[in-house]
């Protein structure tokens, strides 16, 4: 294919500048814009092919952002100074700064990395970032390095924060990348209705349980933590079998998860936390493949009582996709009893493939968060009203079952959604 010499493409890129590619022979457009409809050629949104340059960005980054950046930096510095008043960074040098930037920027995910670089770049272009701001960045980056070398020492001397339930945010941050990989890349979880979770104050998420291992609880937690505007940490109530298991018990405690007792749940709600419960419990998680998406009995209504005691809104959640991650064909009570497990699944891969049997199938997941059921109209004494409790239990079970069915009706493929 021979290109016409020096004829520029006549499309307009998303930043409003003319496309810089050369047009193809016999066309007024380049190879990028060739296949587009006339409207798209002008309004093109995402396929900017030319490298991003400073001029383009100047129009993207609005006037206030530099001031905002400076203010944010100042605030961060003051926070750090509060924690570590004695810390003084090594003397400032542009070369050292670039090196630090290179070392540290890789830690962030690509979109965040791009955002940081764009902001810094645009700052230089506008001459808005004076030397003090650069010194601020220098300070922050040096502090990060110092902080990380300090990490091991602090862990060993017990100099870290845990809350009264054992939640350890440093541990959460360590585990998050793996969970986020499972969430974004492996199961490609799609979450809807995140706005139904309040920005502050307590809420009780009630979800269906499935998938042999409690992956669904972890993914619900990641969804809410990542996508909710106030980054709420979900406290999942887990079955009393887990505390007996080594590593699992310590892991769950450090992640801020709590044993499912009515007292624990009520206390967490009282503190204004978002609590999630899976009232089906072991019956739900150990469902056979043939029973998938048919909700089991919802416990004894303990979750309704804890919501009533604190007038916490009940938020139904349906999780679709988790039923197919392990295909459980049968359950062996004999083996379960022998090794002290609540159930022992025989699946397509487990126990035949040994540890490989733990690898879940990469199905496509949907987490739908429904409309909250307000509890304000009830008195806290209503928690003792057995009729009301069982009514609410059935009501929320039906809502979740309906949500699951309506999502299943829309789903075309187990693997691709």
């Amino acid at each position: 294919m021979v290109e016409a010499a020096n004829t520029p493409c006549s499309a307009v890129t998303k930043t409003g500048t003319p496309c810089k590619n050369t047009a193809l022979e016999g066309s007024t457009y380049c190879w990028v814009h060739q296949s587009y409809t006339p409207d798209e050629r002008v309004m093109e949104q995402d396929r900017v092919d030319s490298p991003v340059n400073g001029e383009d960005l100047a129009t993207v980054v609005d006037e206030n952002s530099q001031e905002q950046l400076a203010a944010e930096l100042d605030e961060m510095i003051s926070q750090v100074k509060e924690i570590a008043p004695d810390y003084t960074p090594p003397p400032f040098s542009p070369k050292g700064l670039m090196k630090l930037l290179q070392e540290n920027i890789d830690r962030f995910s690509p979109p965040v990395r791009l955002q940081i670089l764009e902001r810094l770049r645009s700052g230089i272009g506008e001459d808005m970032l004076d030397i003090d701001t650069w010194k601020g960045i220098w300070y922050m980056l040096n502090y990060t390095v110092e902080y990380q070398s300090d990490f091991l020492k602090r862990r060993l001397t017990g100099d870290y924060e845990t809350d009264e339930w054992g939640l350890d945010m440093e541990f959460v941050d360590t585990v998050r990348p793996f969970l986020e990989f499972m969430h974004h890349n492996y199961w490609r979880v799609e979450t809807t209705g995140i706005e139904n979770i309040p920005n502050e104050g307590c809420a009780l998420l009630v979800a269906n349980h499935s998938g042999q291992l409690p992956w669904d609880a972890a993914m619900l937690g990641v969804s809410v933590y990542n996508e909710h505007p106030t980054q709420r940490l979900v406290r999942t109530l887990y079955a009393d079998w887990f505390p007996t298991l080594p590593f699992v018990s310590a892991f769950l405690t450090k992640m801020g998860q709590v044993l499912a007792t009515e007292d624990n749940g009520a206390r967490l709600l009282e503190k204004g936390e978002v609590v999630s419960v899976f009232p089906e419990g072991i019956k739900g998680v150990g469902k056979l493949y043939k029973d998938r998406y048919r909700l089991a009995r919802f416990g004894r209504g303990g979750f309704v009582r804890m919501a009533l005691r604190n007038q916490a809104p009940l938020i139904p959640v349906s999780i679709v996709g988790a039923e197919e991650i392990y295909i459980s064909l049968a359950k062996s009570n004999t083996i379960a009893k022998m090794i002290g497990f609540p159930f022992f699944p025989i699946s397509v891969t487990w126990p035949w493939l040994g540890p490989l049997g733990f690898v879940p199938f990469p199905t496509k997941w949907f987490i739908d968060i429904g409309e909250p059921i307000p509890m304000e109209s009830y008195q806290s004494g209503d928690a003792n009203n057995l009729v009301l409790v069982s009514q609410l239990t059935d009501q929320i079970r039906n809502i979740i079952q309906q949500m699951v069915f309506s999502r299943l009706a829309q789903r075309r493929s187990v693997l691709f959604g």
Binding site: T162, E164, S249, T261, N264
Partner: protein, 355 residues
């Protein structure tokens, strides 16, 4: 308020008993009678000491003669292995003492217990209220005896409603003079933990135990109250704060040992029952604030940091010299004494306030 309250402290020769007696004597609203089988190692000024065993059948007579209104029962023998002599003193002694109190018309009894009577079980809530059924283990002598006494207390409350019985359940006590399974665990050359388990722990500083008991004598609270320092820490973090490296052991090891060797060897290197290294046993301390109106002076973290200092110094032969440079501690003591003096001059009956 001219009348002085007559109070009897059993087990007064123990460290806690002595400190509590001293505190009460300072307040001048009390006539304190100390009871113990052994003489206190150093004389307590102003204390009316009587050398007798709590199992003595004439205790009721003594209580009546001295017109005792409050009995503070601290006489308890700690033991790792269940044994008959300690059971006889702890449980039967307490039973006889309580019986004597009811007979002599004593108004109040205070008893010091332990939060571990709830037991460390996998299905326990994260915070155990006072009405939680007791599920403690009977492996250690102290544990078994305390559970027996708690059962006894329960019956006593029903049988003798005219005598109020206050039980203070303390979290593991740590401090310079305290000698509890927890301090032994933290002072040992290595700290075994169970691999993959990191239970939540509570502690309380020994000074706060003294203040809490004195506070309970002052207040008319009855019933059972959990007492622990503010802050619940994971075991590994607790060990880090004390400056020890944890030594993880597979969790079935201590259980196997107890199965095979019985009680002979099990506890020698497991000052804390394996259950407590595996599951949390954390008490809800709400009632301590609301009913007893007591706030511990040390948070758990402060108490542990102080204990870390004590532990570090214990390796050096002359503890007295090391303490002679400990200005902070002495200053704290002087401050406290000064405050106590001002307070007792102000109003002799005013309950202790927290510093």
């Amino acid at each position: 308020m001219g009348e002085r309250t007559n109070i009897m402290i059993t087990g007064v020769s123990s460290y806690l008993g002595r400190r509590i007696a001293e505190q009460l004597l300072q307040r001048s609203g009390y006539k304190v009678i100390g009871l113990d089988g052994e003489k206190p190692s150093e004389e307590i000024k102003g204390l009316d000491f009587i050398q007798a065993d709590i199992r003595n059948p004439l205790i009721a007579e003594l209580l009546r003669t001295e017109n005792i209104e409050i009995v503070c029962h601290l006489g308890f023998i700690e033991s790792e292995h269940p044994s008959e002599p300690t059971f006889d003193f702890n449980v039967m002694g307490t039973m006889k003492l309580f019986g004597a109190c009811a007979e002599a018309g004593v108004q109040r009894i205070l008893f010091k217990s332990h939060t571990w009577v709830y037991g460390a079980l996998p299905n326990h809530s994260a915070f155990l209220a006072e009405d939680q059924p007791l599920g403690g283990s009977r492996v250690t002598g102290s544990g078994r005896d305390l559970l027996e006494i708690e059962g006894l207390c329960n019956r006593f409350r029903k049988q003798s409603p005219e005598t109020t019985l206050t039980i203070l359940r303390f979290a593991p006590i740590i401090g310079l003079n305290a000698d509890t399974p927890m301090t032994r665990f933290l002072k040992d050359s290595f700290a075994p933990i169970l691999l993959g388990f990191d239970p939540m722990m509570q502690v309380i500083h020994e000074d706060d135990v003294v203040v809490a008991i004195v506070q309970a004598v002052h207040s008319d609270s009855n019933g059972t109250i959990n007492i622990a320092a503010e802050g619940v820490l994971p075991l590994i973090r607790l060990l880090g704060l004390v400056g020890k490296l944890p030594l993880p052991v597979p969790h079935f090891v201590p259980y196997c040992r107890s199965k095979w060797f019985g009680n002979l060897t099990t506890m020698s290197h497991w000052p804390i029952e394996p259950d407590h290294l595996r599951y949390s046993c954390v008490a809800d301390i709400n009632k301590m604030y609301t009913e007893l109106q007591f706030t511990p002076r040390y948070t758990a973290e402060e108490a542990l940091r102080e204990f870390a200092g004590i532990r570090r110094m214990s390796g050096y032969p002359t503890r007295s010299t090391s303490l002679s440079y400990d200005e902070e501690r002495l200053r704290d003591t002087i401050e406290r004494r000064r405050r106590d003096k001002v307070r007792s001059a102000d109003s002799p009956m005013k309950p202790a306030e927290r510093g």
